[in-house]
């Protein structure tokens, strides 16, 4: 390590210690300090690591956690970044915080924001990239799906030897010729038909001839076994495939990957994709199918993001929603609940939520009136918008309460007519609810 890097590392580490000790925080500031002192610090810090970068719109965090879990079956030293530290400075901090691994070749499994891939590959040549999906996401900030993908590829261009592990069901990941070796994973669990995506789906133009893509089947949004009836372009051959979905509930999913039955303690088809991605990385890194299965079933806490909170006897599930595809997956997931429940939708429009609330009109709220929902509550800064959305969706006004104030919404939960309560909330609404839940002792605090 050069003198400059040593000084920078020391400064970063001590600032981490200081922040962590006195403010219980410190995810990006130490990285910022270190980078300032030594702009190339990442190449020094990461030089002994085999790095795998996980990026995409949805599913980065859980895919990263699951990948770590799977790789633990074979590898002893794995570094990973905590949720929310997926930009350059947070990644530097992650390496600063790592304990010394002299003589070993440890792994670093990093969740990286789409636009920050290039900031990582400038200094690190990863062993592999994982592409989960690209959907429209808070477009006031990120722009179009093609722009987002190009940002990722600009970063990948600096690492042409790294293997790309991509979701083969996403047409965009098969749209550009790349020098990198590519492994595809995807779903192969339904008989072939000839269908089109619903009109409200993004990214359905054939990348070769710009006609509308058709599908043999769709798993969700624009993901599936696509083909172009005009030019014959089609989904690439899958290296690893999900063959069967056996059972779905809001809290668990059972399925088979390449014939191996697996159960994960989390609902939602999108999470099966995350598991499949982690499985594929594991196989790429020499983990056996049996070891991967064992990893998924071993530690349930890994799925902690959707924990159930007990609020005066009510079983409350708090779920973050931030874009239409994610929202529709959550709506799909709660539809698998066999018990009656109360539905709460909270819409804020701060910067972290996305200041443009148009996307709620892309959510398939029309499914709600068909579910066994006994009461609806809408609230948050933009309560008028979310309330009208549910009204247009056909929600019975007699079952629908409106409360802008989030603290008052929390006070309404114990009076809900059902034992189960699902809360769908945008980011700052979720933070504010968690704060209230923590103040009342229902949870321990933080983002969990």
């Amino acid at each position: 390590m050069s003198l400059k890097s040593s000084i920078a590392t020391a400064a970063g580490k001590s600032s981490y210690w200081f922040l962590h000790t006195f403010f219980k925080g410190g995810s990006s500031l130490p990285g910022k300090i270190t980078k300032k002192l030594d702009p190339d610090i990442l190449s020094t810090l990461a030089r002994n690591y085999d790095v795998i970068v996980i990026t995409g719109t949805n599913g980065k965090t859980l895919t990263t956690a699951l990948t770590v879990q799977v790789l633990k079956e074979k590898y002893d030293h794995i570094l990973t970044n905590p949720t929310g530290s997926n930009m350059e400075q947070g990644i530097i901090t992650t390496f600063l915080h790592a304990s010394s691994t002299k003589g070993k070749r440890p792994l670093a499994i990093l969740e990286v924001d789409e636009a920050n891939v290039i900031k990582v590959t400038q200094y690190i040549k990863p062993k592999a990239f994982v592409f989960t999906n690209i959907f429209r996401d808070q477009m006031d900030r990120y722009g179009e799906i093609y722009t987002t993908y190009q940002k990722i590829l600009n970063g990948v261009a600096l690492a042409p030897n790294a293997t790309i592990i991509a979701n083969g069901d996403a047409p965009i990941f098969h749209s550009k010729q790349l020098p990198n070796p590519i492994i595809y994973y995807g779903f192969d669990n339904q008989p072939d038909q000839d269908i089109k995506a619903t009109p409200n789906t993004d990214g359905v133009l054939c990348p070769q001839c710009q006609h509308i893509l058709h599908y043999h089947f769709i798993s969700y949004s624009n993901l599936g076994k696509y083909f172009c009836p005009n030019c014959g372009y089609e989904r690439p051959k899958l290296n690893f495939a999900l063959n069967k979905i056996t059972a779905l509930s809001p809290k668990s999913s059972s399925f088979e990957i390449d014939g191996e039955p697996i159960k994960i303690e989390i609902g939602g088809v999108y999470n099966i994709y995350n598991a499949l991605a982690a499985y594929t990385v594991g196989r790429f890194m020499g983990v056996s199918p049996a070891q991967a299965k064992q990893a998924f079933e071993k530690d349930k806490r890994i799925f902690g993001r959707q924990e159930e909170i007990n609020v005066d006897g009510k079983l409350v599930t708090l779920i973050l929603v931030k874009n239409p595809v994610g929202l529709n997956q959550v709506i799909d997931m709660i539809s698998t609940d066999k018990d009656p429940f109360t539905f709460i939708g909270l819409l804020n429009a701060n910067y972290a939520d996305g200041i443009d609330t148009s996307w709620i009109w892309d959510g398939d709220f029309e499914r709600l009136p068909k579910m066994n929902i006994k009461q609806f509550i809408t609230g948050g800064q933009r309560y008028k918008d979310i309330t009208y959305r549910l009204q247009v969706a056909g929600v019975d006004p007699d079952k629908h309460l409106v409360e802008p104030d989030l603290d008052k919404v929390v006070a309404m939960i114990p009076k809900a007519p059902t034992k189960k309560v699902y809360i769908l909330a945008t980011y700052t609404a979720m933070l504010s609810l968690r704060k209230t839940f923590a103040a009342k002792g229902f949870i321990k605090g933080g983002m969990g």
Binding site: M139, D202, V204, I212, S358, W361, D385
Partner: protein, 234 residues
């Protein structure tokens, strides 16, 4: 039901980026309250637009790539759409849809992409800058205030026969210079307001439905439909 209206969701499978579907949902919702049966159908690439088959056209906003493909395809529908508009057909056009009804717009890479010139506006491009944020405008004829969200790099200048949808009270509007936002021409409503303009300002949805009903049923008594309550989510 006594009355029925048919909506053409023009390129609905490609121009749908910012909750545009909300406009169709709100038209259906209000139509139901008016006692009108409203159906909608997507007309997209390589398909013919038959002006006699529809009473309302909804033309949403999309991504640059999709919009550039549509710029070519829509030339085949130019005559049919123009005669629909000249004949008093109702249209709601948003962002890219708005731009494509005019003469041309400048694409992401600076290339000039043709619209159909059914309306007399044209769209240039700001250099490395977008208008992003909340907008409030006032319809100078009715006094109604509309609110929405804009996110566009294009700057549009109105032409002959067009008046703005409203005067800008907050935000940027068409071009950030002349305080206009959107356009009205005959029964065509154009805007940069994102996606669900009709959801957030259902007064406009009501105008669109009533215009379409008056055109299709000139002798009908629409007093019940006129009473349907509306109000923005402002």
């Amino acid at each position: 039901m006594a009355y029925s209206l048919r909506v053409c969701h023009l390129y609905g499978d490609l121009m749908n980026t910012y909750g545009d579907l909300g406009n169709i949902l709100v038209l259906k919702y209000l139509a139901r309250q008016m006692g009108v049966d409203l159906t909608s159908e997507v007309v997209s690439l390589d398909q013919e637009f038959d002006p006699d088959q529809f009473d309302i056209v909804v033309f949403g906003g999309g991504q640059d790539f999709e919009q550039s493909i549509i710029s070519k395809d829509i030339q085949h529908k130019k005559q049919a759409l123009t005669s629909f508009i000249e004949d008093g057909g109702s249209v709601v056009a948003i962002c890219g849809g708005y731009q494509l009804l005019g003469h041309y717009y400048i694409g992401a890479n600076g290339e000039k992409l043709m619209g159909i010139g059914a309306l007399d506006h044209h769209t240039d491009k700001q250099k490395d800058h977008r208008f992003i944020g909340n907008v409030v405008i006032q319809n100078e004829e009715t006094g109604e205030k509309y609110h929405g969200f804009e996110n566009h790099q294009g700057i549009t200048f109105l032409g002959k026969g067009e008046r703005p949808l409203g005067k800008v009270l907050e935000g940027h509007g068409n071009n950030g210079q002349d305080h206009t936002e959107g356009a009205i021409y005959k029964n065509v409503y154009c805007t940069y307001f994102h996606g669900p303009i009709l959801a957030r300002n259902n007064q406009i949805a009501k105008h669109v439905l009533l215009n379409a009903l008056r055109r299709k049923y000139p002798d009908a008594d629409l007093s019940q439909a006129e009473k349907v309550p509306v109000g923005s989510t402002f």
